[in-house]
């Protein structure tokens, strides 16, 4: 089978280009950036109020602030990945542009692969930009980072790849708004299960763990130590296992998405 890498690349670049012009993404991106920048104000205030007497208390406040921003960046990134993936496929089908595209010598899976790569390109830009924002916040707060740069890039990227593939699978069957509803519910369930795991009966815990992605494992926050404490050693094998889990989950969802997309109607009925 002759795979058209040029066609996949063309679709990926076109998808990425369309995201940069997508009004919804630009609006929410700008709003989010405003919130992050607004959060710098209390950070600077805490810093200004710090004196030898309250240093420890202020240090704690600043750390909480930076941690809150990192959590927001992470949650927003997951939602952005899901929305971008869902919208990139559903938008083409709704507008009808998919017909002229799929009339070209392009297989359905190649189209999906191009779309997926376009989403990952967007998320790579997001990860790098947010990493810059996080470093800026930490620097403003007088904190120093203790983490390998690659973990701060690869881990969130794999996590976003998981959410993008889930959304891509769901959008082959559901409206994008419903897809986002399912994604938000899944994210909430994962958080609830992670924090209250001990109180949940085993018969419920197991199926949830098997079906929902364990995105907590893929959190870069596990390696991001923003105190002066030394970084815990984390062996390469563990990194490989966790990243392989994330990539495997993303690949499985993507292949299921391709399988469903292969069988569905591309035209509006």
């Amino acid at each position: 089978m002759n795979i058209s890498t040029a066609a996949i690349r063309t679709i990926a670049l076109s998808t990425f280009g369309s995201f940069l012009r997508n009004k919804v993404i630009l609006l929410f991106g700008s709003l989010f950036l405003c919130i992050v920048l607004l959060m710098m104000t209390p950070l600077l205030a805490y810093k200004a109020m710090t004196n030898p007497a309250n240093a420890q208390q202020m240090q704690g406040l600043i750390l909480n602030e930076v941690a809150a921003v990192i959590s927001m960046v992470s949650a927003f990134g997951s939602l952005l990945a899901a929305w971008a993936a869902a919208d990139s496929v559903a938008g083409e089908m709704k507008s009808g542009t998919i017909l002229a595209v799929m009339a070209r010598p392009l297989r359905r899976w190649e189209f999906m692969a191009g779309k997926y790569l376009g989403v990952l390109m967007l998320m790579a830009v997001y990860v790098v930009a947010m990493l810059g924002v996080t470093f800026l916040l930490a620097w403003l707060g007088g904190q120093s980072f203790h983490a390998s740069l690659w973990t701060l890039i690869v881990y969130p990227l794999v996590r976003y790849a998981v959410w993008a593939s889930i959304a891509m699978l769901l959008v082959t069957m559901l409206h994008p708004i419903l897809v986002m509803g399912v994604v938000v519910i899944a994210m909430t369930l994962i958080t609830v299960f992670a924090s209250a795991s001990r109180h949940i009966p085993a018969w419920l815990r197991l199926p949830v763990h098997l079906t929902l992605p364990l995105t907590g494992l893929l959190s870069e926050e596990r390696f991001l130590v923003i105190t002066k404490a030394s970084l815990k050693p984390f062996p390469w094998t563990s990194h490989l296992t966790i990243l392989a889990y994330g990539l495997d989950y993303a690949l499985l969802c993507f292949l299921l998405a391709v399988f469903v997309f292969q069988r569905r109607s591309l035209a509006r009925d």
Binding site: S4, A6, A7, T10, I11, S14, S18, R21, S95, G96, T97, L99, A100, V101, M102, A103, R104, P105, L106, R107, R108, R263, S265, L266, A267, D269
Partner: protein, 310 residues
């Protein structure tokens, strides 16, 4: 003998509503062939199933049953798609691109390797008279301009088969004539063209064959000559017809229409000789005697009204 460009054999398409389970039969036992090098019109009233058939042909949707083949391959096969140019009904586009960028995008997807792709794009834009608007964002184009751009993108891959879903829709009379001339030029180059249209006078001018469907059922397929020869009457034109003779003419089953300086008499071909001789014998000057041809529109309306579909 070369395999037909398009083959549909017993195609059925049933849409199943997701909730409630209501089934809607969009196509029922549709069978036809389009030979290579032929210009074939696919006609039917709105909702007849033309676009559904074209979507099956392009591999966008799957038939519920039956067999279909395009250029010797299953619909949707990339080997077939490499040789097909397609214009969808209501061609949609990326509004933020201009015509040149959109054609570059489609050219890259087509996989066609060219020494000078810009020259091809420029020539296609000139062909559809959009060369002066190539820098304008497509979102600002009129409906007719978008349609022309759609035609240009269909021609990008130098296709062997063109599938055009209402190619003249949205165009003004001059634009329609240009598209008609373009199709005739492509026909002269030996391309196979399969098109749907509601403008039957145009179809009559450019197509070799016609397939008519209605409510998902085949009504008629045949050459244009066969379609136009449906009328089994002849028209006799005489310079004058005395009123005393009118009754005798009508007794032959003829209908007549008086004009300023002549009278048109339409009669069944079986009675033409008897009637013509009677008119000569009565001193009428028979100006002409010609087989009557109904227009494609007449034939189409008659076939659809007869209820070709159950």
């Amino acid at each position: 003998m070369a395999k037909p460009a398009i083959e549909f054999a017993g195609i059925n398409k049933v849409y199943q509503r997701r909730f409630g389970g209501v089934q809607v039969a969009a196509l029922s036992n549709i069978s036809f062939e389009v030979a290579r090098g032929e210009v074939c019109a696919f006609l039917g009233p709105n909702g007849a199933g033309k676009t559904t058939s074209m979507n099956i042909l392009m591999g966008f949707i799957y038939a519920s049953s039956g067999r279909s083949c395009v250029l010797g391959y299953e619909p949707g096969d990339v080997r077939a798609k490499e040789r097909i140019g397609f214009l969808p009904e209501n061609f949609a586009f990326y509004r933020y691109l201009n015509a040149e960028k959109l054609l570059q995008f489609h050219l890259r997807l087509s996989g066609r390797q060219l020494a000078d792709p810009a020259a091809l794009i420029a020539s296609l834009l000139a062909k559809v008279k959009l060369d002066t608007y190539k820098g304008l964002k497509i979102g600002k184009y009129s409906r007719g301009m978008v349609q022309r751009l759609g035609i240009a993108q269909a021609l990008l891959g130098d296709p062997e088969l063109l599938v055009l879903d209402e190619p003249t829709s949205g165009l003004d009379p001059a634009g329609r004539k240009e598209v008609r001339d373009l199709i005739l030029a492509l026909k002269a180059e030996g391309k196979t063209i399969f098109l749907s249209s509601h403008i039957l006078s145009e179809v009559e001018q450019i197509c070799d064959r016609v397939i008519i469907i209605d409510r998902g059922h085949m009504v008629r397929a045949g050459t244009m000559q066969e379609m136009l020869a449906e009328d089994n009457r002849v028209e006799i034109i005489v310079d004058q017809l005395p009123e005393a003779l009118e009754q005798a003419v009508k007794e032959q089953g003829a209908s007549l229409e008086r004009e300023a300086h002549r009278v048109r008499i339409a009669v069944d071909v079986a009675h033409k000789r008897a009637l013509a001789e009677m008119l000569w014998a009565s001193g009428c000057d028979v100006v002409s005697l010609t087989p009557m041809k109904s227009s494609l529109e007449d034939t189409f309306l008659k076939l659809v009204a007869e209820g070709g579909a159950p």
